[in-house]
Symmetry: C2
Subunit: 198 residues, 2 copies
């Protein structure tokens, strides 16, 4: 409908979550009509991030360092590791101010139907951290969905085999909800009253 | 909060219309976690479009050619020109199937308070097209906002001074609305019953 470069740009915007044909068109025209500088900066930021950002060697969160800021911080409590599904979950924990330990990011959950098994989530890396001896407690903070709970259960079995205390967030996390949408206050409460998994 | 490259990417997404901090975060993580290839394509499409897309020499719409597809089409009716505010308005006209003439894209409307005057909209170029002698009618299809109407009035005065018939879209265009949100059927009706501006 438009000239090829504009069509391609609109199509390219469709890779973004929540962006349909109408939004893609608005984005393309907005940038080409009013903010070519912003478009160039976005292109550069995308290229830099794609090339530079990988996963933390220790917790698997997204970072351009070999160790993320949290894993590289010697003042964190190395006796606790909190397991989350997504990098953005870490931010919610940090904003709550109620957690001083380390993290482990699964980038998803176990999903046999999609062929996602323990090694895809890096659970071998997590188990090697359990073997290290520093970790005394693992806080399971996967989403409270069926898949999230199943993943948490799987990890709790590994942790117990290493004699590591397993806990999960206290009630207060809405059932069926995703951590990302939780406010800091609710989460702070859920962290401080986390319950032990027997 | 995140590592610098991720922060920069999130910030860069904020140039897109309708994208707040939360959407920007979701976009950045989605691409970095699940679609680096899509991110690279988007970066390339942005770069190509920023470098390649300019304005049609004749109608000012966005295109990477010196003449857009419509202006370069000898089978269009060269006796009518339709004046619209945005390139995307052209698509709505084309989809309606009710218009065979040419277009002229203002990329906005007169807005003295923002320092946007006739030359910023390319009205000198439009007037030189009026002077060419081919154009017998101008269809004013600016948005039916105060600024859009004022712009239409200004253009109608120029057109009349060149003895060009001036028309506007018939009732059917919702008052206070923007053309972009109109369906093709309503627009087709409005085009076929357009009224002459005296
Ligand atoms: Zn880390
Ligand atoms: Zn053109």
């Amino acid at each position: 409908m438009y000239s090829p470069l504009i069509d391609e740009l609109m199509q390219a915007f469709r890779v973004l979550p929540g962006v349909g044909p109408k939004s893609a068109q608005r984005m393309a025209f907005h940038l080409l009509e009013r903010d070519k500088e912003g478009a160039t900066k976005l292109a550069q930021a995308l290229t830099d991030a794609v090339e530079g950002v990988g996963r933390c060697d220790c917790c698997q969160t997204l970072t351009e360092q070999s160790l993320c800021r949290i894993c590289a911080n010697p003042r964190r409590d190395s006796s606790v590791v909190c397991v989350v599904e997504n990098p953005s979950d870490i931010i919610i924990f940090e904003q709550s101010g109620a957690y001083q330990g380390f993290y482990f990011v699964l980038h998803g959950h176990l999903s046999p139907i999609d062929g996602i098994g323990p090694s895809d989530l890096g659970l071998d890396l997590l188990e090697s951290r359990f073997s290290g001896g520093d970790i005394k407690e693992v806080v399971l903070a996967t989403n409270s969905t069926v898949e999230g709970e199943a993943t948490a259960h799987y990890i709790s079995e590994i942790a117990k085999s290493h004699n590591i205390l397993v806990s999960k967030l206290a009630q207060g996390v809405p059932l069926g909800g995703e951590l990302e949408y939780l406010d800091g206050g609710t989460l702070a409460h859920a962290i401080s009253s986390r319950t032990r998994v027997e």
